[in-house]
């Protein structure tokens, strides 16, 4: 690599797309101007599990302002979608599996006409037994939700001799932890728009995390060649995993295919709640044992994931929950089994962390319980078991570099010691109790034991201007800015000077999903690879011209110069001209695919991820034992991100993750059939936020671009466990089910005998 000073990496760069959003420009799907568009709406099932005997659209089709009504029979291609397993029909042909399943698509002149038609469609259902509980679904005689059976997937991880190890343990703790369905509640309800281009291409604007996946899926649903479909990611108002599934894309494609007129489909908040993926509720029974010194010796876990009506990312969630169940600790003997099960609940898919947040709640609660039994401080308990270079994980992977968990624990240590000494014991107001808790985590970057490549191109035009082509969807996390910084660093240009063509399937190649905290690491490397190849061409040409060895040349601010002889320079544009004259292409292709090894189906042994992010949060809470209210006073959040390419962006992710973690820990719960909209689903407001002290730890990853790993999901994972451990510290009683809402906290306060009504506690005069 060039020996020039690093200038663009590790500095705060302003987000490239912020100005247009601040101006209120029409960049989201719902804002786009279309020529005389039709409005789309879907008739959704009101039954959780039923055979469809008949769909009568006759009367509805004759209502005023209806262009057409579509049912499954109209789908020209393969009526099944799904990124991992294809089980999700765009419009159900014969049976509904959850309330909200799509039955018919209406294309109408106006919103009102569409609504009227929806009401006029007659569906005759024949009810089937409804399964809400995944344990029920697993029973031998349970009705089958899908032909293939209700057990979608099992991930086993087995290492060492668990039973024998438990026999030798000094302390063993076994508990069951439960979490709820969650709604992603991104601020922009799902939306899409489209038109048919002059050449017949179906052009679809989407609010999406993965345009290239959408592309393949729409082409397959319609049975058309890939070139016939173009997906353009419009500005996307958050996704957090849910916008990895198709939302409106397939419906828009279907309407365009038949009607040829511009269409738009904007979900109401209610439809977004009803029809899109949720976070998987997990039931985790976990048994953990240590020796008398507190060294973890064995763990057994059974994890049940309710994936609802469809698979979506369920397999990935189960797999990741299993791999991450040990936490960032060395556990020599493990026996973990995660089952992913269909029910008639809303389908569950990816949500920030893919099962790792749920697993962290369980393993971090276990750590505190064990520390309590052993009489060691929770911090020491974690420090002495934390993974290090040379450690083996539960899947038998030997970690060789960038294992920053100890650094994170050490970063939090002074804060922890200070609050344990003073704040924790300072007198709290009457009926209020203070508590302090820790939550640590690890998170594998990228897909679990699967290939997950990214590609990118960098092109220099004859004037020396650079264009970056990337399929990577920026959904608000700032990937376009980070990728521009990487390209800028390589090419000695300001990131702002690089034109970016992003997430348009006509001009970009596949960068994979914006998920699994993978884009900085994987697409960052792809961009670096492409830029490196371009630099190589430029330097080769310049070396010929300047008669200097290539190794001594660098490209910087539009010049190529000799490091050792500042007089020796040539403008990049001269080199570009020479290259063009010689017919050399200055559009370079880059790619990266992290090295992983598939997990063995029986033992789960393998290398699921090339690198891991680590973190530890410290939570200080004040619990009101009269109301059950928990005030989170402060979160200290230390994150090993490898290298913060754009520190302000990393810190923004940490803040946002903490907010979502507080929601997960204390308030959020989506109840199928009951939760309808934002008035019965609370997410944290500005008032719920604690002071946050973000600490960026940089344990460089040798295979990462400039050492970077990722932070998007890790940001959220430790918060809820830290808060729950703090509540338990405050009350002396633990909560095993999330969220720790008012009821559950009060219940715990009563059980702990600290609720003023409880026996033995004196009411103050």
């Amino acid at each position: 690599m060039n020996m020039k000073e690093i200038k663009k990496i590790g500095r705060n760069w302003l987000r490239r797309d912020a100005a247009e959003k601040l101006r209120g420009n029409p960049v989201f799907c719902a804002d786009l101007t279309l020529e005389n568009p039709l409005t789309l709406k879907v008739l959704r099932s009101t039954h959780a599990h039923a055979r469809i005997k008949r769909i009568d659209v006759d009367r509805a089709s004759r209502t005023q302002g209806i262009a057409r009504i579509f049912t499954a029979a109209d789908i020209p291609g393969k009526n099944l979608a799904g990124i991992i397993n294809k089980d999700h029909p765009l419009l159900v042909p014969d049976k509904v599996r959850h309330v909200g399943d799509a039955i018919a698509l209406v294309a109408a002149e106006t919103e009102t006409a569409a609504e009227r038609a929806l009401q006029a469609i007659q569906v005759t259902y024949e009810d089937l037994p409804v399964i809400r509980d995944p344990e029920e679904a697993l029973k031998e005689d349970a009705p089958r939700i899908h032909e293939t059976g209700n057990l979608l997937f099992t991930r086993k991880i087995k290492r060492g001799e668990v039973e024998r190890a438990f026999d030798d343990c000094a302390v063993v703790v076994e508990k069951t932890y439960r979490t709820s369905f969650l709604e992603h509640a991104y601020l922009e309800p799902d939306a899409g728009a489209g038109y048919v281009a002059a050449d017949g291409t179906l052009v679809i604007y989407a609010s999406t995390q993965n345009p290239h996946y959408d592309h393949g899926e729409v082409a397959s649903l319609l049975g058309v060649a890939h070139e016939k479909v173009r997906i353009i990611q419009a500005a996307t108002g958050g996704g957090f995993g849910s916008k990895l599934d198709l939302n409106t894309q397939g419906f828009i494609g279907l309407a365009l295919y038949y009607l040829g007129r511009p269409v738009r489909y904007v979900y109401s908040r209610e439809e977004s709640f009803l029809a899109t993926a949720k976070r998987h509720p997990l039931t985790i029974t976990i048994k953990t044992g240590t020796d008398s010194q507190g060294r973890l010796m064995a763990m057994r876990a059974r994890i049940l994931c309710d994936t609802g009506a469809y698979g979506s990312y369920g397999i990935a969630v189960a797999s990741r929950a299993a791999v991450h169940a040990t936490g960032p600790y060395e556990v020599p003997n493990v026996d973990i089994e995660a089952l992913c099960v269909y029910t008639n609940n809303p389908f569950a898919g990816a949500m920030r962390g893919f099962g790792a947040p749920q697993a962290a709640f369980a393993f971090e609660s276990q750590m505190d319980l064990l520390a309590g039994e052993l009489g060691i401080s929770p911090l020491e308990m974690r420090r002495q078991n934390a993974l290090r270079e040379g450690s083996f994980t539960g899947t038998g992977q030997k970690l060789t570099a960038s294992v920053g968990i100890r650094d994170c624990l050490n970063a939090v240590k002074p804060f922890y010691e200070r609050v344990m000494e003073k704040w924790r014991h300072d007198p709290a107001p009457t009926f209020k109790k203070r508590g302090v808790g820790l939550g640590a985590m690890w998170y594998g970057i990228g897909n679990t034991g699967l290939q997950n490549p990214s590609t990118a191109q960098i092109e220099m035009d004859p004037e020396g201007s650079v264009t970056l082509y990337t399929g990577c969807a920026d959904i608000g996390q700032g990937s376009t800015t980070v990728l521009s910084q990487i390209a800028g660093e390589m090419l000695g240009l300001s990131p702002g000077a690089i034109r970016a063509v992003v997430a348009d399937t006509k001009y970009t190649t596949d960068a994979g999903a914006t998920s699994a905290s993978r884009q900085t690491y994987i697409s960052g490397n792809a961009v670096k690879d492409a830029a490196g190849k371009l630099v190589e061409i430029l330097l080769t040409e310049a070396s010929n011209l300047l008669k200097r060895p290539k190794e001594s040349l660098i490209v910087d601010s539009g010049l190529i110069r000799d490091k050792n002889d500042p007089e020796k320079t040539v403008p990049v544009t001269d080199i570009v001209r020479r290259a063009h004259e010689k017919g050399l292409s200055l559009k370079c292709q880059g790619s990266f695919d992290p090295v992983t090894e598939p997990l063995d189906p029986e033992t789960g042994q393998g290398v699921p991820y090339a690198t891991y992010a680590f973190a530890c949060h410290l939570a200080q809470v004040t619990v009101d034992v009269l109301t059950g209210e928990v005030e989170v006073n402060r979160i200290v959040a230390a994150h090993d991100v490898g290298k913060a390419i754009n520190p302000a962006g990393v810190i923004g992710q940490i803040y946002g993750g903490v907010a979502m973690g507080i929601g997960f820990g204390l308030m959020e719960r989506y109840v199928p059939g009951r939760t309808v909209s934002l008035n019965d689903y609370d997410i944290p407001t500005c008032k719920d936020m604690p002071d946050i002290v973000p600490i960026v730890v940089e344990s460089a990853e040798p295979t990462g671009p400039y050492g970077a790993k990722g932070v998007g999901e890790p940001a959220l994972i430790p918060t809820a466990p830290a808060v729950l451990n703090a509540i338990s510290d405050a009350l002396g009683e633990r909560i095993y089910t999330l969220p720790a809402n008012l009821e559950r906290v009060l219940e715990a306060a009563v059980a702990a005998g600290v609720f003023p009504g409880s026996h033995g506690v004196k009411q103050p005069a």
């Binding site: 705060n12 302003l14 987000r15 797309d17 912020a18 100005a19 959003k21 601040l22 101006r23 209120g24 420009n25 029409p26 960049v27 989201f28 719902a30 804002d31 101007t33 009102t112 009227r116 992603h184 509640a185 991104y186 601020l187 922009e188 309800p189 500005a235 996307t236 108002g237 958050g238 957090f240 109401s268 908040r269 959904i475 608000g476 996390q477 700032g478 302000a648 962006g649 810190i651 923004g652 940490i654 803040y655 946002g656 993750g657 903490v658 907010a659 979502m660 909209s677 934002l678 008035n679 997410i683 944290p684 407001t685 500005c686 008032k687 936020m689 946050i692």
Partner: protein
Amino acid sequence: MEPCRQVPVAFTINGRAVSLEVAADETALHVIRDRLLLKGTKEGCGIGECGACTIVVDGKAVNACLMLAAQLQGRNIMTVEGLIEKHELSVLQKAFLEDHAVQCGFCTPGMLMSSCALLKDKPRPDKGDIVDAISGNLCRCTGYQQVVGAIQDAARRLFGEKA
């Protein structure tokens, strides 16, 4: 369904006088987005829970999805599009940009309008005032920290240090 009764309304929006006929049950949000084609104001829920549709009406921050268009009569309205000063971002918008207060940006126009109303009312707000002012604006991305920071910065730049 009977077509709804039409009522005439006249109001000022971003300094421009408009008069039009609106349906009696039409929301201000609908008129702003779909009739006046000002798409900066967002719809995140339609029921007054998210604040994405916040506009400033006679100096006060209001949820446009809860306001009837007929109620706009005689009022002075400002939307995010009205913040721009001579094609440039205003001080408040620049502070949001420079303090990294925008992630996905969907909540941003609403946040800007709530803070704009706050700064008009209280040029030197303390942190509590800011938290109150934007407590009706949900943001799922930022955790609010950089938003609060940006509003503090904007106040400082506009009106000087807090006394």
